[in-house]
């Protein structure tokens, strides 16, 4: 059989690729037979975790601070000292910024200035998950919009997609900016996105999220798909609003507004 140089090179190339691929694919997997991966026994189960923020219970600056600090301290959230590089998982802002478009010039002054507690809404239909090219952010079965910092390539598409500004990017190395690292939890690295994870590592130990625990009842947390959960009972008894609900992302963080007593005629407050 005679072949010319071109044919020979083509066949040689294809054979090399074939043999190489075959060798790689045929390497035996190195798994021990008996090992398994399980959830912790205390793992709190839910179909969709949700939170209700009762604004009536946030009164002093300390109320906000303790909730924010609880989260940022245990999760090693860095403080770079400037708004450009800022990383925040939970923070506060006023009504017109938390609910843009819903404010009115003539609403009660107290409501205008009172800060709201803001965090990732763990939407049921999250646009951030839809756009992530690597599934570094993904929806868990319990409804948490989770973040995998190992896989994140730092493209920041999720930050463009989030309508709520809930995500932060590590524009610098975070480690030097963490004052008192918590040795039981990792930090993140430069060049990845991070955000609130509804304290999934605490839920795995049977504990409530840190902000909920520190809030002294101001934050309620539970499974919104369970009609007997605390959050469902609260939602059934109180009027709540969500941020930008008209966008269809189905946020899971609900707010009970603190409506001033003097506004309601008849002297009955909504407290």
């Amino acid at each position: 059989m005679s072949m010319d140089r071109r044919q020979f090179l083509k066949i040689a190339g294809l054979s090399t690729i074939g043999i190489g691929a075959g060798w790689i694919l045929s390497r035996p997997g190195e798994f021990l037979e008996a090992s398994q991966f399980l959830q912790t026994k205390e793992f709190l189960k839910a179909k969709q975790w949700a939170m209700v923020v009762d604004m009536r219970k946030f009164k002093t600056e300390e109320d906000y601070k303790k909730v924010i600090d609880a989260c940022h301290k245990i999760h090693n959230v860095p403080d770079f000292g400037n708004p450009k590089d800022e990383i925040k998982w939970i923070w506060s802002d006023t009504f017109e910024h938390a609910f843009p478009g819903q404010e009115s010039e003539f609403m009660p002054e107290q409501m205008k200035h009172k800060p709201f507690v803001l965090l990732c809404n763990h939407c049921e239909n999250p646009p951030c998950v839809r756009v992530c090219p690597t599934k570094a952010t993904f929806k868990r079965k319990d409804g948490i919009t989770m973040q995998d910092p190992h896989r994140c390539i730092g493209c920041r598409y999720c930050m463009a997609a989030c309508p709520f500004g809930a995500r932060s990017f590590n524009y610098r190395d975070p480690k030097p900016a963490i004052k008192e690292p918590n040795p039981e939890y990792p930090t993140r690295m430069i060049g990845v996105v991070e955000k609130c994870t509804f304290c999934e590592e605490r839920l795995a130990k049977g504990q409530m999220p840190a902000c909920v625990e520190a809030s002294n009842g101001a934050l309620a947390f539970g499974d919104i798909s369970d009609p007997n959960s605390e959050v469902r009972k609260i939602l059934n008894a109180n009027y709540t609003i969500r941020r930008k609900a008209e966008l269809g992302t189905r946020p899971s963080v609900y707010y009970i507004l603190d409506i001033p007593t003097s506004v309601v005629s008849g002297g009955e407050s909504n407290a």
Binding site: E30, L32, A34, Q36, T40, K41, M189
Partner: protein
């Protein structure tokens, strides 16, 4: 051949360049790495066993850690049942480094020898070396 002189000089330079690591390190002897296991936590263990047998861990700890991190973060499963049925909490900082709290005398010994820089520590917090 055409430009034979230039080609030969180029080949000689290339060979010198590519064999540099060998003749540069000739004669230098690097001691075999001996990772130390004498941490307070290990000394207090009744049974001095790691998550899996030593030979397995030596060869496969990288794969194990990779499986662990996907299990914990992506699947929310933080319990590992090893080949002997014993339970471990999946956590680099709180399980592995709890026993092996001497990163410099343990992890770094082999990693430095083979010039490997695992990037775990860009995020995960190194244990504070406990005084013995």
């Amino acid at each position: 051949m055409y430009d034979g002189g230039k080609i030969l000089i180029g080949i000689i330079i290339f060979v010198l360049f590519v064999t540099f690591p060998f003749y540069n390190n000739a004669g230098k002897v690097s001691a075999k790495p001996e990772p130390k296991l004498d941490t307070p936590v290990i000394q207090q263990l009744a049974e001095k066993k790691c998550v899996e047998p030593k030979e397995f861990m030596k060869a496969e700890h990288m794969q194990l850690l990779d499986d662990w991190r996907d299990s914990a973060i992506r699947e929310g499963k933080r319990v590992y049942i090893n080949s002997e049925g014993k339970e471990f909490r999946i956590s680099l900082q709180n399980t592995c480094m709890n026993c092996h709290s001497n990163k410099k005398e343990f992890c770094d010994k082999c990693h430095n020898y083979v010039a490997v820089k695992p990037y775990c520590w860009t995020c995960h917090i190194e244990p504070k070396e406990k005084q013995l």
